[in-house]
Symmetry: D2
Subunit: 422 residues, 4 copies
């Protein structure tokens, strides 16, 4: 099983909290697509991205397949042609529509996807009281799965709209952009020595977050806040994108071949947001940067990226429910840090690239069956990000959470926090 | 000027016929997209194809730019961001949205495109009575231009829907499929010697159809009807797709690299139509074949393709308004030839590949200005097709009409008629 | 049979002239590779080019296969692994080494290829007196085939050496570069009306040069000489490479994607020759230009390319043995026209792009068997060049000769002669 | 500085040992290319590989640039055009010939490269007694650098020859192939707890091997020997290449796109060796496998790859001069393990993929200047291999050595040793 839910959390499930969270999560997805037209929701702007409608349908497929089909006697699929269309990458679930062609699925329509959702939600509601613990754990997994897709839905739509010369806004609401004097970054010393990290069993976690194990940390410090747009502009002004010695070899090749000279979505002093083109806020965290850029910035700054262990050790004591995260369907864009003490913006705001390659923890075993494909098979070539972003649903974050992307990818709300050896 | 309209046809323009044809043509485009959702109309399934909405908008751009903007004092553009989005390939009209990314333009919406149409149609209606002959000639050109895009709209939607595993139907109406015994093909001797061909000034024609000039034809015969699906099946059964000696070198490379083993849209005894998957009708003309396939079939049959001159000489005496052409928004699919005398299905049904490379006639000069880019600049690498198809609007065809595509392209309703030397 | 040799030429064959020409041709190939190292002769600088050693071996394979193997009883292949390596594109001769990987064949060595040549030459010498007419015709074809490869060998080596920053010279001998005042181009009126063209049976010709047939020519004139480098410089200075309206659509796409701004091998006022980098001679014919460039230049000059028929009609009366052609192993580079009357440099100097797509003449039938793949299967997408170049072996040219390349290719000694309608 | 040479080793340098090792290393490179023709030594069979001549020249460039040019007053470059040609990837040394086009450098010839070597060797010999410690450290680095290229030279030539249908042998000497019953693999328990690893300063090491630092190891065991060809055949027979659940996601994509179904160089029960095609020895270590294959095999075997730390901890006590390594120019091919106790074949035979991504050790700093580009900039996307192979020069190995390649690469002598948790 890919998720870990202990006896204590089972109590919570039984008392209706799971049903409420399920309903909240399912409703948020619908709210997020509310501003979108059928065409908006069906287009795919690059192979890495998926149409919003596809996200709606795929998360529904997940519940229908792993909960209703597998655990509810007599359940019949809403449409037996849909699994082929909306399976993402589960080899154990059979062949599927090629990922780069998701944008060609103009049918079923957005409304039809909503009907499917309603059908599955109703079936889940009926089935929930009688589900086995194993099935309930899959419901829990499905909620977290859908929360991940909510964030992807937002970043995918942002990418699509940014390709459109009209620069459409998802929400017209202006984003407050207080151009504050950004506070000086401070160094906060981290813990050193042998410490225990990784998920240990209390509450939900993805399989890759465990097992809990001991790690040896060397003396180090973390920056009090993420790097800001103003600091990033200094990097640009200092020739950061033209100095090969700052870059990893693959990163330099990427800069050259893609003609990269700024974070994604920057153009002429503005950046593209889900509310359209806006002036760049120098005090806000820099975002939409690749691992390659984060690493080059750190080299330029005479620092380095934190390891995922350094990050987790520092975050363990902080409240994962705090910070700039996704609460409802409204514009998301990282804002400047408020306050001036301790580690700021560890949760929410921007995902933070770490220097750690995404590999299994000692003793890791992927779950058997299709859901075992959730995390383990992606453990090559990617880097770990920690923390969460302004587009991550609140409640989805925790100190042990391991997000991962390839080092050139930057359409997520990705940023960096500097670290250094002591 | 890209079109040729003589004094006699001007009389027709003045009496309102032009206004009626304009209205008919503009309305047909809207009828064609009526069954489409916003998403259907916005998706692009390959670089060669365009979204249906794009066709609606581009044809509107053509009238707004070349008639209203250039010839109507005081006309203001509906939206001055649209020309960048909906110029196709007119270099003289400035930079434009990259063709392969037309499917990312989910905005303006299909409804917004319809509003633009209504706005432009109203302005055209007001302006028409007072337009100069030069402007009227551009209206005439715009009608023919839009008719071309109506055919493309149908073939592009067909291509899109064929990629969808659900196999959506544009129109549910069943296509009559009378599996008749197909009649034996006969050879009809053609004219030989020096004859005059090409457009000579009477009525509308594209610039590339002229000037009228003399051509020397050698003794030859044309097949009485196009090659049928049943005959194509014999070619397949005889190993046609596995016999390199039948193929042009580039054609064989294409067969190998694309793993081609049948006309486009064939699968397991069925083909995809605008009404969904249907049983293949052995008596209907084979269609969705490339020039390479047409040439290989002719080699296999011990024959050859006609030249465009042989075709035109034979067609000159026939009625271009006859045959299976597009009259209104309804399923299109080539049907079996009816009757048994003379040359059948020369106009309509399927475009017929000729053996003639698309090159200028002696004395050809492209028109000055942007509309001069209409035809002349495409005169390399493509082959001429003659006749028209079931998806060509009736009234758009004539004996001198020169259609052209690359030899590997086959998403149009393309077929072939055999020829031989005598 | 791909070649056409009538009874009269058979007399010549019998008297030893064929043997002498065979020996001369075979020796010239060896002379051409004499300045090359084993590495020079084995490298392949692009998919279109072949290693010099491969040319030596392939021409030997041609004689061994089609003459010795097929017509000499008891002949045993020198090495039965070689046909797989050195068959070029004859599908009927079975599978073969992939063309883009010819440069990986460092074995057999250049010396081994020479040994194979010697072996085959000896066997041919012994067999020649007793060969049947059919076999003798294949020897004749083999000679012309090898002459073609001699020209390719030179242009392929030139391409290879041009990629080397050391700019190696094939021959150190300086090329005379008399910067003369280039003579004014004159227009020479051509024949009009119905005339007979194409090869008619007297002497050797490739199959695609016939059959002889009647063509209708419209009134026109040809330029007295090819376009010069000085004129080409004017085209560049006038923004020729930056003006899309001058270009065919495919040509403009090619200019953009390849960043073309001058003929191949031009750099900083010099061009690369088989004697290394040299100052550009403004009076010499412009060469290493694509069809796209030739066509754009003609548009810029208010003229057009000649048709292949106009060219042939004009050339029929001229001596194909005259002009700047390849006599022995020495530097080749087109020189300025000498003299001032009539049509100059029709044969030799540079191949002249015509406006004619390479398609079959009326009544053309490719020969049966493998040698039938020589020409006919290439009749799509390519354009005809006429005349011959400074790298064409003298004796290989004739008025009916049809060379052909794709419109973007320019590593041959290609140029253009303007034409216009009268 | 990229290398680390302490005071103790400096004593060795001063007494002539360095000069002797330099001479030995330089001579071995020449011996390795002795069987190669000029063409063999100049060809490049893929972007990842380089011509043998290029290796000869590049290693010479390294000494000429970093020792002679930078540390020997008055030294003049042998040919000032060569640095552009033979710089590999040192951005600080300026622009350079594009890597994929190394095979086009047929000049300078193999003999000219040898002359350059002789010139540089003589200059090094004269300069050596008077070199500064910094310069001597660069000589030391140059020796290790050249040893790396000796291994690459062998694997690159092997790749080239394997593309040739003639299957040329570098050395004809037969490889002994005793098809022994392969011994049962045993599990050897490794150390657990906090241990010190990484290079600590005694003797030469590359910068990436340090600094020495503490690592926490969990209880585990290593296999007594690498996986054999016989075991690999079982993996194949059991459908290993057809079972997606065994593979990392990127690995499965690679298997599909490259149609991988066996280690590189396997065909019909044989594999290609530097002595040509040979029967596969089931008892010899499996080699020419990618990380993806190694990982999938481990999954299939119910085990995992060792971390680089587990490997190093186990290797620390073993003799790095033992085992199957490169001593002189002769056939190299991994042989079956001899003996039956302890950890076998840890050094030599095959490089062993570890599960560790190639990332910096805590406190790592790349050296300033061009030689700082040696290792640090490659720390993304690659995996660490440990141990050395039959093609690694003896003396080049040590327990701390970190080799690294991308997970799909397999033209090196790469294999795997299983590990498991205890």
């Amino acid at each position: 099983m890919a998720s870990k839910t202990d006896a204590k959390s089972r109590t919570a499930l039984e008392d209706g909290a799971l049903a409420r969270r399920l309903a909240t999560t399912r409703r948020l997805s619908l709210d997020l697509v509310a501003p979108l037209s059928d065409a908006d929701a069906s287009a795919q702007s690059m192979d890495d991205a998926s149409p919003a409608k596809w996200h709606l349908a795929h998360t529904t497929w997940f519940f229908e397949t792993f909960v209703l089909r597998d655990h509810v006697a007599g359940y019949r699929l809403f449409d037996d042609r849909f699994p082929y269309l909306f399976n993402s990458y589960y080899e154990a679930e059979g062949p599927r529509h090629a990922r780069p062609h998701r944008g060609l699925l103009t049918r079923p329509s957005l409304d039809a996807a909503r009907e499917w959702r309603a059908h599955v939600d109703a079936a889940l509601g009926r089935a929930l009281p009688g589900l086995s613990p194993a099935a309930l754990a899959l419901v829990e997994l499905g909620i977290h799965h859908e929360q991940q897709h909510q964030e992807l839905l937002l970043t995918d739509i942002k990418h699509l709209f940014a390709q459109n010369p009209l620069g459409p806004a998802m929400w017209e609401t202006p984003i407050a952009c207080e151009v504050a004097q950004f506070s000086a970054m401070k160094w906060i010393e981290g813990a050193a020595g042998v410490i225990s990290l990784g998920h240990g069993g209390d509450g939900f976690a993805f399989d890759c977050e465990g097992p809990r194990h001991e790690v040896l940390l060397t003396p180090h410090a973390l920056a009090s806040r993420p790097v800001t747009n103003g600091e990033w502009q200094q990097f640009i002004d200092d020739g950061g994108y033209e100095t090969p010695s700052l870059w990893l070899s693959d990163g330099w090749a990427w800069v050259q071949s893609e003609a990269v000279d700024a974070p994604a979505y920057w153009r002429d002093g503005q950046y593209f947001t889900l509310s359209g083109w806006r002036d760049i806020d120098p005090a806000a965290p820099a975002t939409h940067i690749s691992f390659f850029e984060a690493d080059a910035f750190a080299s330029w700054a005479g620092a380095r990226l934190p390891t995922e262990f350094e990050w987790e050790a520092a975050a363990a004591a902080l409240d994962p429910l705090g910070g700039d995260q996704l609460d409802d369907a409204a514009p998301v864009q990282p804002a400047a840090a408020v306050g001036d003490t301790g580690l700021q913006q560890m949760f929410g705001s921007v995902w933070e690239w770490t220097g750690s390659a995404y590999r299994p923890f000692p003793g890791f075993r992927a779950a058997p069956g299709a859901v075992g494909e959730y995390n383990g098979k992606f453990m090559s070539g990617q880097f770990v990000l920690r923390g969460g972003s302004c587009a991550t649903p609140r409640g989805h974050m925790r100190a042990t959470y391991r997000n991962f992307f390839y080092p050139h990818q930057r359409w997520q709300f990705t940023g960096l926090r500097l670290a250094k050896d002591l």
